[in-house]
Symmetry: C2
Subunit: 239 residues, 2 copies
């Protein structure tokens, strides 16, 4: 792939799978040519680049850190190379940048200024979970995190279940990994027995990937352990 | 990637980009070993396989057609090889199978029977459009096609706009490609002036990819031609 003056959105692996299994070769062509990279964490970004290609000339790359400690008024300046006709990359810690991570901010600035934005292909746990759930992919919502407080959470779950049934839409959400098991318990207890729940865990991991769809009633009697594993939750209540 | 007994969900290119730019090499390892493929159209599936690898032994593959002419009661029988411990693949015409295409049916049957489902990485125009829009990726909905009738369509658009503002969610939808220009006109006329509209067209196409975000008011005075080009529409109304 040939580099042009654009903001490249560069996906990162989400498991220990060999990179050739989850990232197109073309992404590496782009990475090798980039001299400016917006990343969430410089140390892990360097590690990823070295994993992509041990001979990678990391010294030639300028890194710009974008995470919750970043002064957001600085982010616009990260795009200076782009304004003068160079290319800039955006990477997140895992998966596709600008979906559920801070990378959306430089993208929105680039769009506002009419600068070119080029998304590259890579693993998205949300999308891959949806594919493998067997649920409706013609209509779906990603809702991020649910409320933590028990009553509010149960109400939100019932709302999502009703919405799924009324609008025929798959409802997707995530949880902090150390609370995954509690989430499944709560779902099994709160949802109607015939509402389908899919838990998609360790997506793309060749050894540990688990993507299981069952009615809520069956989850009650299923043994599972999703503790501290990256997971996506999907519910689907058909009419 | 080593083949196991599973239903593999195999993405297909969505543009004329070289395959190495949009599909991981590992997908080809799987494709080469599969002897059973569920596809939307056998002719285009063969063409894709030949493009992946001109030496592909297509004669060794049994194809099962799944499209709107298929008797859906037959689909379960497509999974027979899987039930006896072999692997089966699902491919759609373009993009990721089981998202907005008939592939979801064999996946839901496999899940119901506790058969393993493995999604592979590939281009998804919905997700790539979302990445490049600069819109909120922490909350978003894909709504498929909107109503065709003018009044109903305008009402639906206003509903989605209000929902985007109230719930801080990006609203995504598609249109039959020959009606794309009419859709942009309708959006520019119907949405509030400061609501953002992103049109993402010919995603991954190295020559024609166009992903542009502008306020609805500016789209009114913009020249564009999205006629007969595959496109994704996204709207975002911030509070």
């Amino acid at each position: 792939m040939e580099l042009t003056s654009a903001l490249y959105l560069i996906p990162v692996n989400i498991s220990n799978a060999p990179l050739r299994d989850t990232l197109p070769d073309g992404n590496l062509d782009i990475l090798r040519q980039l001299r400016h990279l917006i990343v969430e964490n410089i140390r892990t970004a360097r590690r990823f680049l070295k994993k992509c290609d041990p001979s990678f000339d990391i010294g030639a790359v300028t890194f710009y850190e974008l995470n919750r400690h970043t002064d957001l008024s600085e982010v616009s300046s990260y795009l200076e190379p782009l304004r003068r006709g160079e290319a800039v990359g955006v990477m997140s810690e895992a998966g596709c940048p600008a979906v559920a991570d801070p990378g959306a901010l430089p993208v929105s600035i680039a769009q506002r200024e009419g600068l070119k934005v080029v998304p590259l292909v890579g693993p998205s746990s949300i999308l891959m979970a949806l594919m493998a759930s067997g649920f409706n992919g013609q209509g779906f919502s990603f809702n991020g995190y649910l409320p933590i407080e028990a009553k509010e959470r149960e109400k939100k779950l019932r709302d999502l279940e009703a919405l799924s049934r009324r609008c025929d839409m798959t409802q997707i959400f995530i949880e902090t990994p150390y609370r995954n098991n509690k989430m499944v318990e709560c779902l099994a207890r709160t949802l109607k027995g015939d509402t389908l729940l899919c838990v998609a865990c360790d997506i793309t991991d060749p050894e540990h990937e688990t993507i299981v769809t069952q009615p809520a009633s069956r989850w009650k009697n299923t043994r599972y352990n999703f503790d501290k594993r990256p997971a996506i939750f999907l519910i689907y209540a058909s009419k």
